[in-house]
């Protein structure tokens, strides 16, 4: 993880404690201290991990509040294979734990914290909904894998032949895996390349993070999601 931290924040400019699939700490981002919250090892997100993420967000809001200092940027470093699949988690009501994380993100945003996600591994389905997608700006590293379902599984469920899905995936970003598809649809704001200086990329992402949800318009602008903004406007009467 240290190699990634060094590249994102600069060598010796981060203090991050790793605890199993979870890590948290602080680091320098654009010459200011930022709060870092992350998952690794393609973590399956269950109630325990969701509570750790939520607790770290609440702690950041609480600390900055009590010290009356400007709210720090919160950086989510995301690597998740999706939600944990188990009867125990369903009994607890994992959806409610994910909703809690979302509320904490929203609270931080309202308190003036900027929320930036960097996908450094996988970002899949419900895990991504809970951890990452609620940020103001979402960035993906070159090897990042963003998806809901792979095409073979989708073929099985929808009964559409796999070969046909592969062909259709060339024309449309709406169902096939890939960070670039999510970029075209406006949910991933930036794709970083291996040659980029990730440290300055991150500083720029923080600078451009706005608190309004502009993803439907961005998807329209990039040609990947042509209807969402118009239909929303039609129903909203705006």
């Amino acid at each position: 993880m240290n190699m990634l931290f060094d590249r994102l924040f600069g060598s010796g400019r981060h203090t991050i404690t790793v605890d199993g699939d979870f890590f948290a700490g602080t680091a320098a981002v654009a010459d200011a201290e930022a709060v870092i919250i992350g998952t690794r090892n393609k973590a399956a997100i269950g109630s325990g991990l969701a509570l750790k993420v939520a607790a770290a967000i609440l702690a950041a809001v609480r600390e900055d509040d009590s010290l009356s200092r400007p709210p720090r940027t919160i950086v989510f470093l995301v690597d998740t294979q999706g939600q944990e699949l188990s009867r125990h988690e369903e009994l607890l009501g994992l959806n409610g734990y994910f909703a809690h994380v979302a509320r904490c993100c929203d609270l931080a945003r309202r308190h003036g914290h900027r929320l930036v996600t960097v996908v450094h591994g996988e970002a899949v389905s419900g895990g991504f909904l809970a951890f990452g997608l609620m940020a103001d700006r979402v960035c993906a590293l070159p090897d990042a894998q963003v998806r809901v379902m792979d095409l073979r599984a989708m073929s099985k469920v929808t009964k559409i032949p796999y070969d046909r899905l592969v062909v259709l995936a060339e024309e449309s970003p709406v169902f096939a895996p890939g960070a670039e598809n999510f970029w075209r649809m406006g949910a991933v704001h930036e794709l970083w390349s291996a040659e980029d200086d990730w440290n300055s990329c991150l500083a720029s992402a923080v600078f451009h993070a706005g608190s309004e949800d502009g993803r439907a318009l961005l998807g329209l602008e990039r040609g990947g999601r042509m209807l969402a903004a118009a239909i929303t406007g039609l129903v909203a009467g705006s």
């Binding site: 994910f98 909703a99 929203d106 809901v148 949800d213 209807l227 239909i231 129903v235």
Partner: protein, 299 residues
């Protein structure tokens, strides 16, 4: 005059809305004759619907102006795609300018529509933010759950972001459906055909005991209407503040306590027992009124 009750579970979304709100008060926004169906389903040669499986509009309920959406579980399992999700987001955006007494979401959905999975996932995320923004503006959002698809996947998360959750015994809430867990983890982890077990994990009574649902009602539309009317009255009297740091800290404590209390539990039996329902068979059969009386008498 005796009116025959209409089963909520069996009814279509259109019938649910028509019988839930004041007579003839519903007017639909973005109605089916405008033919906003999903181009993504069409491209995959899958059947489309001119309302994309969800109707949205405005109505009165017990005289209160509401914005209301109903997901049609019989179309693609109520699943959320680009158009479907955008209609829901648009309704919540409209609430900010129209300021209804509440936004009612008649959730009946398995979550993201796989034919347009990326669009569906993003739409759910937008919907999550839209619900939070509406609540922040002081407008409560209610989820009503009692259809065959329940509230699963991303719609399970959206439901738990709502201010009030009204559910029937047949209603179900969860994240991953039993079939998905069984397929991936095996039948020993979750036997999706064991209906009693599924009920003890996801069912309305269990969700009410845990506090994820705020009202349990009988499976007829009139009961949903009565509970919703009562809640509209309650919220009209006292506007709920947006979740602040103290409220979310409290919520965090409660969720942590739940996780500790049931740290190894894999069956709702223990949850019912701890709530004082000593015999499981009797909980399953207990009329909703008796169940509610028992629960509200329990500290």
């Amino acid at each position: 005059m005796n009116v025959k009750p209409t089963c909520y579970f069996e009814a279509s979304a259109r019938t649910r809305i028509a019988k839930l709100v004041d007579p003839d008060s519903f007017s639909e926004l973005c109605p089916p004759h405008l033919r906003h169906s999903s181009p993504h389903l069409a491209r995959l040669n899958a059947p489309v619907a001119f309302d994309d499986g969800v109707m949205v509009g405005r109505a009165l309920l017990a005289g209160h102006p509401v914005l209301i959406a109903g997901q049609e579980g019989k179309f693609n399992g109520g699943a959320v795609g680009e158009v479907h999700g955008a209609k829901l987001c648009g309704l919540l955006e409209r609430a900010l300018s129209e300021r209804p007494a509440a936004v009612l979401l008649l959730v009946d959905s398995g979550g993201v529509r796989l034919h347009e999975a990326n669009a569906g996932l993003i739409a759910i995320s937008e919907l999550m933010r839209a619900v939070l923004r509406t609540e922040e503006a002081g407008i409560p959002v209610f989820a009503l759950i009692g259809g065959s698809c329940g509230a699963f996947g991303g719609m399970g998360i959206v439901t738990l972001l709502c201010t009030e959750v009204v559910i029937s015994e047949q209603g179900r809430i969860g994240l991953s459906g039993p079939e998905v867990i069984e397929t991936v983890k095996g039948v020993d982890e979750f036997d999706s055909r064991d209906r009693a077990l599924v009920w003890r994990i996801t069912g309305g009574k269990l969700r009410r005991v845990l506090g994820d649902a705020t009202r349990l009602v009988d499976d007829d539309i009139a009961s949903f209407r009565a509970a919703t009317a009562e809640l509209l009255g309650k919220h009209a009297e006292r506007r709920l503040p947006a979740s602040d740091l103290a409220a979310l800290t409290e919520e965090h404590e409660q969720l942590s306590a739940r996780a500790r209390r049931y740290d190894t539990a894999r069956d709702g039996r223990i949850v019912f027992e701890e709530a004082g329902f000593t015999e499981l068979e009797s909980v399953a059969l207990m009329p909703v009124d008796d169940f509610n009386r028992h629960l509200e008498g329990t500290p």
